[in-house]
Structure formats: structure tokens, C-alpha cells
């Protein structure tokens, strides 16, 4: 589903973001990306959406080699990769329903499909009764649920989340984790960046650890501890 082949990222100022990174993520997997700040986690995530181009190596998502993809084709890749942001990025002048429907409207989904799909997704993330509310009327956890609903509504094969619980308290973060695990059980591949030791340790999922742009640990059902290398 996702394959990194000797990927190296170098930024304009000659800073190395990733160095010769290779890994393979199968369909339906749940993978944590961990590591200290500046380790290269966000760089890895940005490669998946084509937001960032590697200096060397190949990034293959859903059978598509992202780094050689024409800009014109990029939107179609992005429809198969849902993105959950740490800061939610909801549109403040749209209701919950409209925020989610917006993601379908702008990829020209049929009105009929929008009316059918949005309520289904809102009930999946537990926000059916908040559909008519505006983002500023919601708690942080609820806002993140809207963001997840928006990422899911176009039925992506993969969901990527860069510190989705970073702005949430522990309890709310647990709820969001439970939601993501449920979504994963339904077959969606999930790649999630997190700094939360508790979340990683509770989940018993695969952990890929980066340090200074290099993969230093890739463990099935791993824990968070950044100092214990496999």
C-alpha cells in the first residue's frame, strides 16, 4: 500500500530531512511514526501527499509513484489519501455538515451521494447531533472528529495523521484513538505521527522510529520508549 525505497529528502538549506529511508506498509496496517522533534516524521508524511518531493528514492502510494507523478495528476492521488491535521483546519463559517460536505463538493461528487454519505460519516464519528453547529461551538475533540470525518468522506484507502491528538487532553485523545482504531478495523490503512507514549503503548501496533532522518527501529507491536532500540 505504501512503499519507501531509499528515500532521501534534502531541504533548500541543505538540511537533510530523511536519509535513505526504506519501509513497506501493507494494506490495512496501523503504523505509528515516532521520534524526537526534527527526526523527519512530518517529512515522511508530506511525501505521501506529494506536498514534498524526495531528493532521491521512490515513494509509492496505492501503486502510484508519487515522486514522478505530474502535478496535474496529484489531485487524484490526494483523493485516496485522507489527511487529519493537528490543528483541525475547519472552515469557521461552515457548519459541521458543510465542512464535511465541502470535501465532496470540491471533488465534484454528485449531490445525491453527498446527501447520503455525509450523515453516514458523521454518525460514524459520533457527531450526528452536531451537524448544524459551527466549529467554534465544538470542543477540541469534536473538532478533531469533524476533521477525521472530512478526511474519510471521500473513502480514501489511506488516512495519514500528523499528531492528531497533539492539541487534545488525554481522555479526549483516547476517544480519538479509539475512533481511528475503529476506522482501521474497517480496512483503512492508517499512518499516524504521535508523541504520546500512552497511546503507542496501549495500541500494540507497528512502530517506525526515526532519528535524524534515519529509521532506527521498525517493530511489530512496538512500544514508545525512544531509547530502547530493537
Amino acid at each position: 500500500m505504501i512503499e519507501f525505497r531509499s528515500v532521501t529528502v534534502i531541504y533548500d538549506n541543505d538540511i537533510v530531512g530523511l536519509e535513505n529511508v526504506s519501509f513497506n506498509i501493507e494494506e490495512g496496517e496501523f503504523v505509528f511514526l515516532v521520534g524526537k522533534t526534527g527526526a523527519g516524521k512530518s517529512s515522511a508524511i508530506k511525501l505521501l501527499t506529494g506536498e514534498l518531493k524526495p531528493y532521491a528514492g521512490d515513494v509509492i502510494v496505492n501503486g502510484i509513484t508519487v515522486n514522478t507523478l505530474k502535478n496535474r495528476k496529484l489531485p487524484y492521488l490526494r483523493r485516496s489519501v485522507g489527511v487529519v491535521f493537528q490543528d483541525f483546519r475547519l472552515l469557521p463559517n461552515k457548519t459541521v455538515y458543510e465542512n464535511v460536505a465541502f470535501a465532496m463538493e470540491v471533488v465534484r461528487a454528485k449531490k445525491k451521494d453527498i446527501r447520503r454519505k455525509v450523515p453516514t460519516i458523521l454518525s460514524l464519528v459520533g457527531l450526528s447531533d452536531r451537524a448544524k453547529n459551527y466549529p467554534n461551538e465544538l470542543s477540541g475533540g469534536e473538532q478533531q472528529r469533524v476533521c477525521i470525518a472530512r478526511a474519510l468522506v471521500n473513502s480514501p484507502a489511506i488516512v495519514i495523521a500528523d499528531e492528531p491528538t497533539g492539541n487534545l487532553d488525554v481522555e479526549t485523545a483516547d476517544e480519538i484513538m479509539k475512533l481511528l482504531m475503529d476506522i482501521n478495523k474497517m480496512g483503512t490503512t492508517i499512518v499516524m505521527v504521535t508523541h504520546s507514549e500512552k497511546i503507542v503503548n496501549d495500541a500494540h501496533k507497528r512502530v517506525i522510529q526515526l532519528e535524524s532522518g534515519v529509521v532506527v527501529r521498525d517493530e511489530k507491536e512496538g512500544g514508545y520508549n525512544l531509547d530502547v532500540l530493537a
Binding site: 496535474r72 483546519r89 472552515l91 470540491v106 471521500n154
Partner: protein, 290 residues
């Protein structure tokens, strides 16, 4: 539908800039329209002039009718001559009198045309650019005293109008750049107001052309309104000006606005739309690079 709704609400939000854009576009297109009308009429006058552009070969006073006959046929056989027409002294005198009008007829009552005017041959050329050649050859015909060529005057008229055309073209170009610049900035305001939306659209996989569409539409609406204003002003202005000028431009006919409405209005509309969409396209470009 999404595009149109978004475009209209953006235009309303930046009312001042929108009006500024519309006004500059209208001014620019107004000038363009004036230029077009000018160019069309110059060509029209040019056609009228060149249909009158003949050479006139005057014949020696003491030529006999037989000489005249010979001269006519010799000129007719000159290369590039389309047709010739003989004008006798008497005819020339009659023409002269009618040209001057009834008020002067008193002066001519006792005169006889044959005493003051010469017979001549009017020559219509095939190819206007080779008029001088005909002039040379006609002078070689025995019995031809003088050849008058009206081409010089036409040349002068045309070069003067070229200068005016050039001047208005420069003014138009400057206004065109200003107009595109102002549209661009108007659209940039809308782009700025919707930056978050654009960002989300990019991430959920909206195509660039879809994202661009409302902004393009915004620019095009501004272009269309500006062009419409210019067209209305021009149609009334032109009709008024032609009405006034027609009096002393008697010799030439000018087009009525109706005759030019289609190419002029179409041209302005097209330019308005091109300027509007070009301005907005460049305004969004930077924001599509995510």
C-alpha cells in the same frame, strides 16, 4: 454553481476594488473601441479615396480631335491601365460650374469653357502601387502636356492617421497593463480571504482548474461588466460624434454605429473577458503550489 455563488459573494465583499477594476477595464476598452471605430473608418475613407484615385493627363491646347483620339488609345494601351475616360474642355467647364454651385453661376455666364480649360484623359490604374510608372509613360505620349497624380495627398492623409493610430495604441497598451494589474489585485483580495478554503481543497484533491474557476469567473464578470459599460458609452458617443462631424466631412461617408456594432462590441467583450481571466489566473497561481 459553487463557482458562481463564490464568485458573486467575493465581488460583493470587495465592492470598492471591484468597482475600481470595472472602471479601469471600461476606460481601457473605451479607448480600444475608439481606436477600432477610428481604424474602421480610416479604412473606409481609404477605400473611398482610392476609388477616386485616378491620374489625369492634360492634353495640349492645340491638339486636334484626331490627336485626342490617338492620345486616348495610346494611354489606354499603357501597362497597368484599367480604364480611360476622355473629358473635353466643355465637359470640364460644366463639371467645374456644378462643383462650385449655383451661387457662382453669375461669373460664368459669358464665358466659354474651351477658352480656359484643357481637355484631359482620366486614367484609372489597376495596381495603385504602380501609379508613378503610369505617370512616366503617359508623359511620353505625344500631345500630353502634363499628368496630375493625386496619390501624394492620399499618402499624406494616411500617414497622419497612422500617427493617430499609433498614439492611441500606446495609450491603450498602458491602460491595458493597468487594468490587468488592478484586476489581479482585486482577485488577490478574494484569494486571500479564501486561503484556508483553497488549502483544504488542495488536500482533499480538488483539481487546480476547479479551485481556479470561481476566481476566473470573478475576473470574467468584472471584464464583462467593464466591456458592457464601454460598449454603451461608445455607441452613444459615436453616434453623436458622427452626427456632428458628418457636416464638414461631406465628401466622405462614415460608418453608422449599427454597421460596426458587431465587430466592435464583440471585440470589446472578448478583450474584457480575456483581461479578466488573465488577471485572475495570475492572481491564484501562487496559491495552487501546495
Amino acid at each position: 454553481m459553487y463557482s458562481l455563488k463564490t464568485a458573486l459573494s467575493s465581488l460583493g465583499r470587495n465592492a470598492v476594488m471591484t468597482i475600481a477594476s470595472i472602471v479601469t477595464i471600461a476606460c481601457c476598452l473605451f479607448l480600444f473601441g475608439v481606436f477600432l471605430l477610428f481604424a474602421f473608418n480610416i479604412n473606409y475613407i481609404g477605400e473611398q479615396v482610392s476609388s477616386q484615385c485616378e491620374l489625369q493627363a492634360y492634353i495640349d491646347e492645340n491638339a486636334s480631335p484626331a490627336d485626342e483620339e490617338r492620345i486616348l488609345s495610346e494611354i489606354n494601351s499603357i501597362d497597368n491601365v484599367k480604364s480611360v475616360e476622355f473629358e473635353s474642355k466643355e465637359q470640364a467647364f460644366e463639371n467645374y460650374k456644378t462643383q462650385l454651385g449655383a451661387e457662382y453661376s453669375e461669373y460664368f455666364r459669358d464665358m466659354n469653357g474651351s477658352d480656359i480649360l484643357r481637355s484631359s484623359v482620366k486614367i484609372t490604374p489597376d495596381d495603385l502601387s504602380r501609379v508613378n510608372e503610369i505617370e512616366q509613360n503617359a508623359l511620353l505620349v505625344r500631345g500630353v502636356a502634363k499628368v496630375v497624380n493625386r496619390e501624394d495627398i492620399i499618402r499624406k492623409v494616411i500617414s497622419a492617421t497612422d500617427l493617430i493610430k499609433f498614439g492611441s495604441l500606446i495609450a491603450m497598451l498602458i491602460l491595458l497593463i493597468t487594468a490587468v494589474f488592478i484586476i489581479q489585485n482585486t482577485i488577490k483580495l478574494s484569494v486571500h480571504a479564501r486561503e484556508d478554503e483553497i488549502h483544504i481543497m488542495k488536500f482533499v484533491g480538488a483539481t487546480d482548474s476547479f479551485i481556479r474557476r470561481p476566481f476566473m469567473l470573478e475576473g470574467i464578470i468584472v471584464g464583462i461588466i467593464g466591456a458592457s459599460i464601454a460598449i454603451i458609452v461608445i455607441s452613444f458617443g459615436y453616434t453623436a460624434v458622427v452626427g456632428n462631424v458628418a457636416g464638414f466631412l461631406d465628401i466622405f461617408r462614415l460608418y453608422s454605429f449599427g454597421q460596426l456594432a458587431l465587430p466592435v462590441a464583440g471585440g470589446l467583450m472578448l478583450f474584457g473577458i480575456i483581461m479578466g481571466s488573465f488577471g485572475s489566473r495570475t492572481a491564484v497561481r501562487r496559491h495552487l503550489k501546495v
